[in-house]
Symmetry: C2
Subunit: 375 residues, 2 copies
Amino acid sequence: MGRQFHFSLITFAVNFYLLMKKYNFYSGPSILPKEVFEQSSKAVLELDNIGLSLIEISHRSKEFMDILEEAKSLVKELLGIGDEYQVLFLQGGASMQFCMIPFNLLGEGETAAYLETGVWSKKAIKEAKMFGNVDIVASSADKNFSHIPKQYTIPSTAKYFHITTNNTIYGSQLQKMPESPVPMIGDMSSDIFSRRFDASKFDMIYAGAQKNMGPSGVTLVVLKESLLGKVKRQIPTMLDYNTHIKNGSLFNTPCTFAIYVSMLTMRWLKSKGGVAAIEKINEEKAQKLYAEIDRNSLFEGVVAKEDRSRMNITWVAKKPESEEAFAKFAKDNGCIGIKGHRSAGGFRASLYNAMPVEGVNKLIEVMQEFEKKNG
Amino acid sequence: MGRQFHFSLITFAVNFYLLMKKYNFYSGPSILPKEVFEQSSKAVLELDNIGLSLIEISHRSKEFMDILEEAKSLVKELLGIGDEYQVLFLQGGASMQFCMIPFNLLGEGETAAYLETGVWSKKAIKEAKMFGNVDIVASSADKNFSHIPKQYTIPSTAKYFHITTNNTIYGSQLQKMPESPVPMIGDMSSDIFSRRFDASKFDMIYAGAQKNMGPSGVTLVVLKESLLGKVKRQIPTMLDYNTHIKNGSLFNTPCTFAIYVSMLTMRWLKSKGGVAAIEKINEEKAQKLYAEIDRNSLFEGVVAKEDRSRMNITWVAKKPESEEAFAKFAKDNGCIGIKGHRSAGGFRASLYNAMPVEGVNKLIEVMQEFEKKNG
């Protein structure tokens, strides 16, 4: 009984609805599994029969502490890491990490190494320069970030080496994580939990949740404590990783809803077989769509083939004047959010974990129909 | 049709449920109106029949931009302010504002004035000291923050004067806003939208949402642009108010869910007659509960009568050994979250806007029953 009375009818309605579903290709916030929408919707009315809504309970209540613990342990399990890493749920997005990282790790006069592969790494570099020296070990800026530089040397005197593992805007991805002689930090906002990788190569990994992990409002930070305590400057309390480590992400009120929904999304991923299982599906989805881009006479890819992202698939129309028409045609046919980012133009389809193969099939069908009519 | 099919049954179930409702006295995250729970729950399944969930749409989609615009305009309407103020929705809570304020407004060697009235102002002062000099114009720390200091001078050379208008932990509140010769900044996290006040006395007002405004995950900042651009230090992009002003709170992905739910909560408040109407009800609820605390032979208030908060009502048991028994008795009788904050002890009942008079009546009944059994 209680607020959940007849909730099964909602489940029925959702299933009915899915028959005429729109496919959401937004780059973030983005599609989440339908089970997660259903469970979160229910929890906003009432959390697990406790007589209160998820969003009205204290972040220090036993109920929320249990959610936070489960979220932490799912992060560790899905990334295959142990207690040598701290798992934090912060606010402010990856953009806040761009300044927190050098604030905590880069002393005045010291140098940090960055690989420049797109808008997000550029932004990270900009913040780091306020705190110390930045050595850009390689950049693909001169080719509009259409590839991932591979020949570069990471100075062994750098305090850390920072990479963006997937470039959401340009649609490129590091297929192989680099070997670094200094602590490596990865912004994995748009490909965390999408593929297997050796997390032990990293001293820190961070990700805004709003792609594969959950809704917007929470930022995952996974780091080794050995990184900290080495700079001399005073760090404002909220920007100091130690504050959040000591208080288990509860120094102040976190975004309880986003942490809960992220926990549900990670639970869903685990139930699907975890990262290894989803990686295969992600590979299949991406290869299908790239095959169509390469085949279709109207379109072409923009990223070097060996660097193509499995998460954010980008392409352009060979005749730029037809871009608007295709964007409209796709939208009218239920493919939402395929317009490219304003700094890249063209098209982008984000194929995050929760995007079903049917969504990709639908988009391919739409591209083929458009070709028939305009080819 | 669509995901909202049969949602009216949920509404029925919720109403049924309310008959045996628990009353939520948590200090934050805290109770919100039941209509807001229902509407938010629905939007997590599907937003306004658009075929997508609120939490999967882009923060740059037309749908979300409309939500953000409505939220901004409701803030202005409820506070009675015009375009001379910027309205921002940020992340990190009031705690992040404790450092952003001096980062942006207090140059090295300059002085800011602070009124010290509790844990939150102490925390704000601690951060300000990292950036410049702090003049604590008055403090009630020596009396465990049981009153609001009233005799003090604000130096006219201070860059700004900072107050906490309501002290969530100790249960005290500024009944009258001070007159300040310098720009006044108010942390109104726990009493914004609960009572009328002259907002034009302030150059900046901020509030973590998770009391009267919405769920956790968003922080409201209202400020005059004339405050900015006066310090010489470099400010990290995410910590610079100008970044968020220029980008209309969309420099990076905000917490879309919390902004939406805050907008709904403000819509609800407006529909109830706005701040003037809720102020009367808040006054009635608080006076009722204080009357019982003063009458009941087992309890006593802790804050000077003239400084008592209408939002967070605090009291102690005259026999400290009976505190645990009363806490359990209240919980068993459906009054949730009345344990005092760990720095204050005793009891605290938070009577935010969404707490119905029936909740207060219930708590009074429970206090009277406890007295009968233990008096």
